[in-house]
Symmetry: C3
Subunit: 165 residues, 3 copies
Amino acid sequence: MRIMSEEKQTKKLSIISFSGDFDKLTAVFTLATGAAAVGYEVNLFFTFWGLDAIKIKQGRSPVGKGFLPKVFGLMMGGLKAAPVSRLNFWGISPKIFRFLMKKNNVATLEELVDAAKELGINFYACEMAMHILGIGKSDLIPEVKEILGVASFLKLSEGGQTLFI
Amino acid sequence: MRIMSEEKQTKKLSIISFSGDFDKLTAVFTLATGAAAVGYEVNLFFTFWGLDAIKIKQGRSPVGKGFLPKVFGLMMGGLKAAPVSRLNFWGISPKIFRFLMKKNNVATLEELVDAAKELGINFYACEMAMHILGIGKSDLIPEVKEILGVASFLKLSEGGQTLFI
Amino acid sequence: MRIMSEEKQTKKLSIISFSGDFDKLTAVFTLATGAAAVGYEVNLFFTFWGLDAIKIKQGRSPVGKGFLPKVFGLMMGGLKAAPVSRLNFWGISPKIFRFLMKKNNVATLEELVDAAKELGINFYACEMAMHILGIGKSDLIPEVKEILGVASFLKLSEGGQTLFI
């Protein structure tokens, strides 16, 4: 029982998904699905630009209430518009990545997100960031399990590995 | 006693604060204050651009000795000049964030830093980065508890959750 | 024996080295060598832009097979061409950093990489990123111990501190 409990502790991966960059979101979902596939409990906590990955309306459409959040929504633009953190020449890089991923039979970002849902990975959204950016629960995909504050997320991620991406 | 010791292990959050970006510094202090508020021991280790958050002289004033560190000091510019990691259109974004944070009654970055001091969060500064950037102890806010190397920080953060932001 | 096992758990540092930025790679190797110097087992997992740090051919030369990977290889350019994540004015910043590091007797990035090899730090390369970017094992320095997937890396890093940089 003692060993079991320790075993459980080490089989948890929690990621604070902060970035909205295409390559970093790919890293988040690659780590998450890879971990879930070998039995880890995986918790994804989307905050700030990372919220972009779990918005319902994809594409550069205004999301949230009020003028400024709308501007941010337009600028963020969702998964399909996610830029690469480096070398993002006029949006060409994400397309090259997608092409290379397709060509080499690697799962694309959208496929990784779908896989994450299938694998029962826990999606959480950051209460404070949603508040700042004017995003409501109804703007997010239904797979989002709960809207959490920092304390609750830390409690969830205790005893496992936690990454900030 | 055994249980107590384990309990203590999981109640520690350490953050290597590397970035000088407004949104990432906001993430650092939101996580730190959120954790401290529910009883965590919180250690913040400021290094490279993150040192900007704990400099006494805020604003684009030269800090450190020698010509090149001065140039970096001018470029870094402190908390009020911290850019957003994405979409930093001529410095407008941090202002929009601040506005949204004020409007939605969310603590602003400066308020979060003050809260961190109040909550007894441990501030540490990275010895090597200070050396490279020509920053002395007297350039930093008095709340900085100690100037540390990597080994000491790792020892401090052992047994808890550690993030690199 | 119980205490020994716990001791071992806390003496491991694993870093997912994702960024190709000069300052972030410096952080990776400073943390890694600092930890190894005080007896930690250190695992470095190079992925995406981070792979740049462990390529044999340094400088802006094409690496990998096929046209698009070649373009990426040219753009990435290896350690000597690694940009700084902020304030990278026409490549001047890394040079200023190198100058300051030399001037202040701090190990430069190349010296840190050499130290990492000397200290027996474990170098791993990410299978999927190599696949996407068209990089083969023969393109990487011989110190790379193994090419791994996510699950294997998570297993390796269990029970220690894990960072994403």
